[in-house]
Symmetry: C2
Subunit: 486 residues, 2 copies
């Protein structure tokens, strides 16, 4: 495709995207396609000759769009917000247009230095300690794996330069809470620690946050048994209920063992732009790394996860390579992001953050985040006040965790055990039935999740376009679908 | 930013990209900026209020473009081709516009199913065995790590579900050649095997391909010593000289030990679109995985690496997670790509491949690849015929590895040892001097690399816009810069 052909098709595509984004509120939120339906609508072989742009665009419209759950809808309350601010879309387009190859500083000095500048902007905006430095990773899953690899190597005296974990005399152990994201367990297993050496530290039964005394006990028991505590993964905003582990109390416990403390703030990190939410990371000075995802609530388009570290040297000693074909005269003076993570080749992802912050401005982003926190607090109040409804966890951020507990499924509050539930299975069926009705309606999308072995429903507020009126309509829909089943 | 503001700015940006791509042949190929120069040109703090689009675009022009080595230039011969076909740029823009969230099949069925369809297109186009299945990863580095993690778990009977590598009685070993990409060593170390358990299998002194008898010997010695050979990483197209390890001869050796065979064809994979190059993967039936990067020579914009596996079950058993909040009614019937790699959240990267193949057509892509192979063969002939010049490795693909060896730096051929080099240090200084002159001129860009301890120069042909006349001009420039120094 020539630049002139690109110009013509590009204008058409920009218009298509602008139109598409405008109609999203009218589309079903959850994709309604059946397994295999998208694939069946596509050609089974690649074309030998070029196809017209219109044919591709027509397939996009006909097959792809119906096959996407609309995370940009104001009625999207699923998983966590996954905003894709149009300003960041432009930044990503600029990145593709410039087509920089990020393998070393020399291959694209701007790719490295814009990333340094913009991660420093965000360090300051989120109140992370001075001197901490950031790099863009694809996701919090990868960031957690990188942190646990660094932890493994610290605890083992860089065993990878010898016999690896295989040669280690004492088992290295990792600590997290049962409420931590599934990627933490995955990262610990991929890093080779083994399931037997991953500790699920007990949480508080009301807040679902990790209990410091339980961590102290678990680490102490392992150390007494000759094992070496290597890492603690602290969740600031868990996936289930956005519980906030008490970092300031956990850090000194980890410090007794020299264990790496990684803070997973994938969702909650966006809120750190608000000074009034900085208490969530009190104690971070004593931790080693923190990751959060601008591609969630902040709205810089996927994939854009930030990993900040207190001492980049600890990453570099584990991740660096120096083959002859990547050396240049600038080595030693510059940052080589290839040594901060797993992939060698990197996209110019800093541009989407840079465009996003500059074109939208920080003030407007802060206002939107505060709007969402207020909407969640408001919804929490409605739920707490509605007969038959229960908030199953504190509303600590922008996610409201609810259950409809009609009288015929639960006894009088507290009369039949801790949660008053008489027939858990029937309650679960009820919960899943009304969630399915809401999601199948296409009018909104929420995510059911297990908490203490029972299904509850997460209403995760924070799509860029979600206003109070949408939340009010969602609450009316949810009530109607749940209550008409009783 | 509203859809209408996006429309206005988007049209401007499309025009800017079309204009930028048109002027690339006139830009210096290697970025000429000094360390810190880009950062110094940017604001040190994020703006509170929105900036006009023109201000951002102006910084792009003023600071970013000069800070990028122009891999899209017809005069780019560095590292490996890093093409970013404009058709794929449109596909990536469509992906951003649609803003699908790839965490499970249900979150965006089209994201999963287009990826299944397009990786199947490419399986067939590249002649991989029927039944092998593909997934998009960011880079070959990550793909290799994923393969080595699967290898580790196969060899240890899924030790990650027990004590991890820490509990294993016998050391697991990994085999590759000293010519393999640096990411192979990095992946082996990150996977926890340890440097002591990574074997550098000897290569042929002329072809630089792994010697089967050396592999057999190394694996046999380890097995005899009670170690367990876990994986062999075979390079089809090494980074230094594009040497092609003899897969068909290596596979049966690995099979004796049940070792995982991963084929790293990051660069050479594109050539598999040409039936006459399929011999490079003879023997693949007996291997376990292969990765190659459409974001190199093929030209689907970074990041786009393909990982094909014979048995996806072996990845899934290592990588899968199943938290309650990600379950859906379709589970069991559909592909969950989250279980094929490290990150949970994935971009809709299949669209850029899909757009690229459909808008450019396979026939034109094949013609371009054949053009580049012919240009490399032609250049190889020129080098071989030029007095004082030497091809230091066979031209097995599109990269020509050369050294200028003037008479005062080497003796008569063969008279002073194997390579005739009299004063290696002086020769190295000469090589690096003429390379620096070529690269500093801004007129072309090539990469020096060490081979057998001496610097040589890789001329890697294959930028989308590189025609024979550019290669001829490069050869004239290289000759002039090298020969005027003697």
């Amino acid at each position: 495709m020539t630049p002139e052909e690109f110009r013509t098709a590009g204008h058409v595509l920009i218009d298509w995207i602008a139109d598409h984004r405008s109609r999203i509120p009218e589309l079903p939120v959850a994709s309604q396609v059946k397994p295999g339906e998208v694939a069946a609508g596509l050609s089974a072989a690649a074309p030998e000759r070029p196809e017209p742009f219109e044919a591709v665009l027509s397939d996009l419209e006909r097959v792809v769009v119906p096959g996407v759950t609309q995370t940009q809808s104001p009625n999207f309350y699923g998983w966590f917000p996954s905003n894709a601010a149009l300003a960041s879309v432009l930044g990503d387009l600029a990145s593709s247009g410039i087509a920089a190859l990020g393998i070393t500083w020399a291959s694209a000095p701007a790719l490295t230095e814009v990333e340094e500048v913009v991660t420093e902007w965000l360090r300051e905006l989120t109140g992370l300690p001075a001197g901490w430095r950031g790099a863009i990773q694809d996701t919090a899953s990868s960031a957690c794996l990188v942190a646990l690899l660094a932890a493994r190597e610290r605890a083992s005296g860089i065993s990878q330069n010898r016999g690896g974990l295989q040669g280690e005399p004492a088992a290295l152990t990792v600590y997290t809470s049962p409420q931590a994201h599934s990627s933490v367990r995955k990262a610990a297993l991929l890093a080779g620690f083994g399931a037997d050496n991953l500790r699920q530290v007990a949480v508080d039964p009301v807040t679902y946050a990790m209990r410091p005394e339980a961590l102290a006990e678990a680490m102490g028991a392992d150390a007494a048994a000759g094992r070496r505590p290597a890492a603690v993964v602290v969740a600031v905003g868990t996936t289930g209920t956005t519980a906030i582990d008490p970092l300031a109390q956990l850090v000194p416990i980890a410090a007794q063992y020299g264990a790496w403390v990684h803070v997973d703030a994938a969702m909650a990190g966006s809120a750190l732009l608000l000074p009034e939410r900085r208490w969530m990371i009190d104690g971070l000075d004593g931790a080693d790394s923190l990751s959060w995802n601008p591609h969630k609530w902040l709205g810089t388009i996927l994939d854009c996860s930030l990993l900040y570290v207190r001492d980049p040297g600890e990453l570099i000693s584990v991740m660096s390579t120096n083959p002859s074909y990547l050396r240049s005269a600038a080595d030693g003076e510059v940052t080589q992001y290839k040594d901060w993570g797993i992939p060698l080749g990197r996209r110019f992802r800093a541009l989407k953050l840079w465009f996003h912050l500059r074109l939208d401005g920080v003030e407007a982003i802060r206002a939107r985040l505060r709007r969402d926190l207020a909407n969640a607090a408001w919804l929490g109040e409605q739920v707490a006040a509605a007969p038959g409804w229960r908030l199953v966890a504190p509303v600590s951020l922008q996610t409201v965790c609810v259950r409809h507990e009609p009288a015929d499924l639960v006894g009088p509050d507290g009369s039949n055990g801790d949660d008053g539930v008489e027939d858990g299975e029937a309650l679960d069926r009820h919960t899943l039935a009304w969630v399915a009705a809401v999601n199948d309606s296409g009018r909104a999308f929420v995510t059911p999740s297990l908490l203490d072995g029972r299904w509850m429903v997460r209403i995760s507020i924070g799509a860029e376009s979600t206003e109070r009126r949408h939340v009010a309509a969602l609450w009316a829909l949810v009530r109607a679908e749940a209550e008409r089943r009783t």
